[in-house]
Symmetry: C2
Subunit: 337 residues, 2 copies
């Protein structure tokens, strides 16, 4: 059961190590016949190149790093699916890192990438993250980055997002159209561009409707979501409680349902709800949740595809490019008919 290496093959076939290596990498320097012999024996012996030796020699690891805040989240889970499918197709391996929204963890993870562990990075920024000098450094070091969903607009690279502004605008408009007079906006971060875009869509829709946005209706949960309950509850039992909610992130949808149940508020009677969400169960909630459904899988795919493209033409730098894949407003029963 002694490990079989490229030397084993070389000896067995009476070839030099370099020839075997080249044969396996399908080099033009090697005759078809030899390639056949090599591959045959390799298959027979169940030989697989040592990825670490290979990476060391070739300076390429065929591995990408995926850095995301969470995995227990329909959006990210779907995105991973998209990413993985593209990666697998291209023979790339996927290293997954969870930041749990912590900037420090994010930084540690990225610092490790200085080592060359990954050929490229797919990333969705943590909620906490403000400055991104450590990302800049990595990019300067030549590691291609593609951001998806939660991006830094001022970084010169490919970014895959959805039409956050328009989606929020449309969603808000829909609520207004259904008679909402006072709509609450639930944000999950003050610094993320995705968040401010959604916020602006919401604000502009309200203004366009001839209303004046109220600061108090914008609630931001920058810390733990567990703080959502008391805040939400307080807001929803106030005298001037809102009659509509736009939640800018999936995780905030359920707390609303919970609070409504506790406070005996009817949905959509007392409160109409729309949430950005990819919950499979949205249609079976009580009542079914009207959602802004993001093309999560496609975003993941697109991000991975962009990265693969950059990785192919080695050494090329990704230029700034903003790819927008639109979301869909799926109207269900949490808003009036």
């Amino acid at each position: 059961m002694s490990k079989i290496t490229i030397k084993t093959l070389a000896k067995e076939l009476q070839l030099s190590v370099s020839t075997v290596s080249k044969a396996m990498r399908d080099s033009h320097e090697i005759s078809e016949e030899t390639k056949l012999r090599v591959n045959e024996l390799a298959r027979k012996l169940n030989y697989v190149v040592n990825p670490y030796a290979s990476s060391l020699g070739s300076k390429s690891s065929k591995t990408i790093g995926v850095v995301i805040p969470e995995v227990v989240d329909s959006f990210f889970a779907l995105a991973i699916n998209g990413i993985e499918s593209v990666a697998q197709e291209n023979g790339y391996h996927v290293l997954i890192y969870l930041t749990h929204e912590s900037q420090e963890k994010e930084k540690n993870i990225l610092m490790d990438f200085e080592s060359g562990r990954v050929d490229g990075v797919l990333m969705s920024v943590s909620r906490e993250t403000l400055d991104h000098t450590y990302i800049d450094e990595l990019m300067l070091a030549g590691i291609p980055f593609v951001f998806f969903d939660r991006v830094f607009e001022d970084i010169e690279t490919t970014q895959i997002t959805t039409n956050d502004y328009e989606s929020a605008y449309l969603a808000t408009q829909h609520l207004l159209g259904k008679g909402c007079q006072q709509i609450m906006f639930l944000s999950f971060s003050k610094n993320l561009s995705i968040s401010s875009k959604r916020l602006h869509g919401y604000l502009d829709a309200i203004t366009a409707h001839g209303l004046v946005p109220d600061k108090n209706d914008v609630i931001s949960f920058d810390e733990d979501f567990s703080e959502a309950y008391p805040g939400l509850k307080a807001r929803l039992q106030a005298i001037n409680r809102p009659d509509g909610v736009l939640a800018s992130v999936e995780k905030l949808a359920i707390p609303i349902y919970q609070v409504c149940e506790e406070l005996n508020l009817s949905i959509p009677g007392n409160l109409q709800i729309i949430s950005f969400s990819n919950l499979e169960t949205a249609a079976y909630l009580n009542p079914p949740l009207t959602t802004v459904t993001q093309p999560a899988f496609e975003i993941g795919q697109a991000a991975a595809a962009a990265l693969m493209k950059a990785l192919k033409r080695k050494g090329s730098v990704l230029i700034k490019e903003e790819i927008v894949i639109p979301s869909t407003l799926v109207i269900r029963k949490s808003t009036k008919t």
Copy 2:
């Protein structure tokens, strides 16, 4: 911006490469003072060891492979969370592979592991998988495996599961207690032990209740779940339609709700439902779904912890050990009160 390697440090500090290497790995051969100097400069220069060179030399990659069927699934997403937390704590990297229930993909992934890419493997078997000779081979090659949730009982290694038999038994008993006379069991695989355990729990509960299980009430979805609809629908509009369902996997819960809606069956009036599920939204479905909630996060943690333990005492083989973390029956409104 030239890559800084261990040689850079060595030269700068007037030390040999080996000394620097040892210093960084905290070898006892090196004086505290030297270690300090080395680490200081390393930090200053932002030096990170090249993982591939390191792995090549040390024959250890500090990387584990996680092979699972899906990621868009609350159970697996939570499990990944558990795994990742333990891995990160121990300085291990996590390579994720999705089989999408395909035995062939699973095999390809595992065959690649022959290369030594990962130090150990955490795995939940694909639905399709029947024989596991390729797993045996890998284990023989000395790569530690820990199985979680979907295990092979006849493999001699650590397996982390939940109490599938008892959970199914209890769930079924609960349905029977609520007056169900004919309970359908939705299975997702004929070969998986997890599946047959749940099935037996169900069968035994029925028998214990003095009823005779009906073959026709056990429906297995071995292929795509999309085939679930027609089958379910047919069954639920038959004359002798069941008045209870136990779904052995989360993915099957929503289709039931769908069919009930289509057929205008009331839940739990016409049909009581229990599903194995970790859906966060279970409590907010219409009606709230009674679930067998698995300790997904804990299972992930336990699996990773067991693997870490094996990885620490290098070269040790994992003995057969079955760790069972119990599930909880969470009673909600899809079963009668």
